[in-house]
Symmetry: C2
Subunit: 344 residues, 2 copies
Amino acid sequence: MRFSPADLEHPIVQAPMGGGVSTPALAAAVCEAGGLGFLAAGYLTPDAVRADVESLRELTRRPFGINVFAPPQPVPNPRAIERYAGALARRHGVEVGAPRHDDDGWEEKLALVAELRAPLVAFTFGCPEGAIVGRLHAAGAAVWIAVTTADEARAAERAGADALVVQGVEAGGHRATFDDTAPNDLGLLAAMQLVAAASALPQVATGGLATGRSIAAVLAAGAAAAQLGTAFMLAHEAATTEAHRDAIAGAGETALTRAFTGRTARGILNRFQREHGPEAPLGYPDVHHVTAPLRKAARERGDADGFHLWAGQAHALAEPAPAGELVRRLAAEARTALRDAARC
Amino acid sequence: MRFSPADLEHPIVQAPMGGGVSTPALAAAVCEAGGLGFLAAGYLTPDAVRADVESLRELTRRPFGINVFAPPQPVPNPRAIERYAGALARRHGVEVGAPRHDDDGWEEKLALVAELRAPLVAFTFGCPEGAIVGRLHAAGAAVWIAVTTADEARAAERAGADALVVQGVEAGGHRATFDDTAPNDLGLLAAMQLVAAASALPQVATGGLATGRSIAAVLAAGAAAAQLGTAFMLAHEAATTEAHRDAIAGAGETALTRAFTGRTARGILNRFQREHGPEAPLGYPDVHHVTAPLRKAARERGDADGFHLWAGQAHALAEPAPAGELVRRLAAEARTALRDAARC
């Protein structure tokens, strides 16, 4: 039997957060508390992914998820990326990275997650072909596909997905839209309703969920589980930097931008995002590679104005605590909220 | 005792929809079915408002709401509006309206709703002063204020509001933001959570709610009631035009625009919105008056590409039915959804 969200003790999923925030310790703590922990394979070498899975399995025997980026779209205008790279280099007086269009080791990672017999593989940024989903099913994995619209949900269902991660525009980090040339702005509840009208697959709802009441809300809307990212970024086990933690705990407004990676993503507005958001071209992961040295340097010097402060819209409500405590507390609050509302 | 959303048989509010869509017959049908009907005072003469209230009272004795626009913000750049008016006139080869900055009869309407002893007065586009709220309280009215952020919620609470209409970015028609020079993009669930952390006032949730499950969601999130606009636009009693009804029943994508009125609003993308959205200046209601003749002509010839197709993000799920039937069906679906979710 493949993993199903109905198997969870608590209907809470820790979102995979690439770039180092998601640690095996975080995923294991969530799993051990009765939720579902996730590893993020994105940006990592296959060896690092393997090491993460092994670390996680030393910490828990429970099922977990691992997220893989679908291959990127072609870059519509490579010259625009070169111009952006040049402007960044001049503005910041430093070397920027070379634009590079790579698929983040797509085939290797597919083979690896099958070989490692991950219980659950989730895809973001696009829809894998049905044959790939079939291969993972044959390896015992459940397959979730992140969607933001009814059309994407239909495509994911045709590909054989077991569940849909329905992402609202409230979510922090990258939008999961298949086609970033035409991003949509559907809020979570609107997306859930439109997706439910298009597909009967189980929904895992994500985007701006930070409280037990919001988890109750998506469960009442029909979700099988709620997926929380930012709400786990202050967890003790998360590898969130101090500067990023401070920003999440603050009241700063978030906005969508392509400034950091060339793909639409939500971050807390800082100087880099304000300055470069308007001119940033479409082109992922090319722009990601261009800005990588700038962001790394800013992160190392603790400069919250120089790197991507990915966060969902409700970030100010995130709480610092051990992840297992967060899972238990949020689940209890959600249950109370549902009981209170059902009594009315 | 002032009207409270807890007094409702069904926690469903019909949103006030200006420009003619909200009719006394619609509001009365919603009230009679056990929800809360609303009249929209916006754009109407005081005599027309008085006539609407009298018509409504002939149809129902139940409490109802009436919505009043808070006075508009100053126009930052009147020249930009003149340029826009000129461009529209040239592009469409017709006379456009004169830009006019008026307050929609603010003082007269305040006096009128007090004189008519409306049970509930709601404000949109800004926060009335505490003295005004006090005057309405003295006239027996409950006062609701539409908000989109925690800061706006705090201001509304300070002014003495009895409840907050929390509007998410999913909503059709105008955004309720107090300051349209700095619109935010908070989704409904994110806004509700952030507002709840800032104010304990009862919340009436609105934005993209079209199904019983979505109503269940906002009730589980803590709302006292759900307010639906687009979901009532296909109701038999609504005065929605045929062209607008067809667009709502379709799958067209919505987007925010200032093209029609100079204030950020959500409509189904059509030719006018695509062509003029990028260049449209900030300036309400000045731009509203400029485009009024164009929109009226388009509406009269049934040209859905020429007027504002206000609609929330979940518009494709709206159903044509008598409004009372909609209220009862949505309330029953919401109760079932809450019971199902609470059982998990």
